[in-house]
Symmetry: C2
Subunit: 218 residues, 2 copies
């Protein structure tokens, strides 16, 4: 599969790019700054096929992952709405604020970053996924298996199934359907809880769903 | 430990009452209707020491679990604020609405049910926990081990530790600190995602945190 990543030079974008490349996908690593994307892509060359490009060129893919900070999210998607038409867009943006007590979810007028993306990208199918997999683990070439589940939320069952397959192409990861897009806010916000877990237990936590039937444990 | 349960005749309250009794705790199962509480308690007699009482009498315990529907939550706590003074109050209320697309989190003016409880119970220490353990599994006497983690949120580290211990007195369950009370909304709301998981996969799902250090895996 050809996977584009908007914001591919940030920790989550670069980590996902590494894993998708390791899984044999062709990765278009996008950035506002194409030169920086090329530099990051060069650093991932050992993982597989990764090309650094401008964000606009990273839309030339089967699936486009959005991994930018929430601040620039709406503006970037608005500028790329035409290029993303007809495509599957996977949003993994976590709208969080930070103060002296740590991270907290910030309000998004559309309910969640994923719903914001779907409102802007009227011609695309937006799915929310990859919020909780640790960027540190994703980007560590010594980590062979990514622990935990990738929660996948969306309206279109077939498209959700494709994103679950993309998640499961990453060794160790399991994709689990976790509700319609209107429940994405909770999954985005839960990243703040995981950061609290990380701080308390000095780890890189993820989450797993218990009790799934065996055929979905694959 | 002596554990009181407000709303002990509902599915979550009754299930938790069963597990706490199985773990050897003395359980005061409270209800608006003391006669109904006695009836439910009689049904749990095989599990251990369970007494059915009026909600007001269930406050005479070391830890008081609040397992009522969100509709009556604020009024009940307001009426019991005096009796709950100085106590540890564990809120497991999930403020959810339901429509034809399934469950969704509803807005709570205080941010979450747990924060609402803490605002009302100025003399108590409120901790949020036990939102995600399946009431069906808790209340099934044939289930010996409860899978998954109990996420525990609160401000007071010592009290959070006590509630983690209470959670871990239930065979199979692990208590995990998951942030301050201001992050409780996400944990409450995540119950809607778990219901979506249950519907899709025909199961009783829970969640587990991955990546915790071994000493916390106990």
């Amino acid at each position: 599969m050809k996977v584009g990543i908007l914001g591919g030079t940030g920790p989550q974008g670069r980590g996902l790019g590494r894993r998708f490349a390791m899984a044999g996908h062709e990765v278009l690593l996008g950035s506002r700054d194409a030169a920086r994307a090329q530099e990051t892509a060069a650093g991932l060359a050992g993982a597989g096929r990764v090309t650094g490009v401008a964000n606009a060129d990273a839309t030339d893919a089967d699936v486009v992952v959005v991994a930018v900070p929430h601040e620039g999210h709406a503006d970037l998607l608005t500028s790329l709405a035409g290029a993303l038409e007809g495509k599957v867009v996977v949003d993994c943006v976590n709208p969080l604020g930070f103060d002296k007590q740590g991270p907290f979810p910030i309000e998004v007028a559309d309910g969640s970053a994923a719903q914001e993306a779907q409102r802007i990208l009227t011609g695309s199918t937006v799915v929310a996924a990859f919020h909780h997999v640790s960027a540190v683990l994703l980007d560590d070439p010594d980590v062979t298996d990514i622990p935990g589940d990738v929660l996948v939320l969306g309206e279109d069952r077939e498209v959700v199934g494709r994103v679950i397959e993309l998640a499961q192409s990453i060794p160790g990861a399991r994709g689990v359907y976790a509700g319609r897009l209107r429940l994405a806010r909770t999954v985005e916000a839960f990243t703040a809880n995981l950061i609290a877990v990380n701080r308390r237990y000095k780890t890189h936590a993820g989450i797993a769903v218990t009790g799934l039937p065996a055929q979905d444990e694959a």
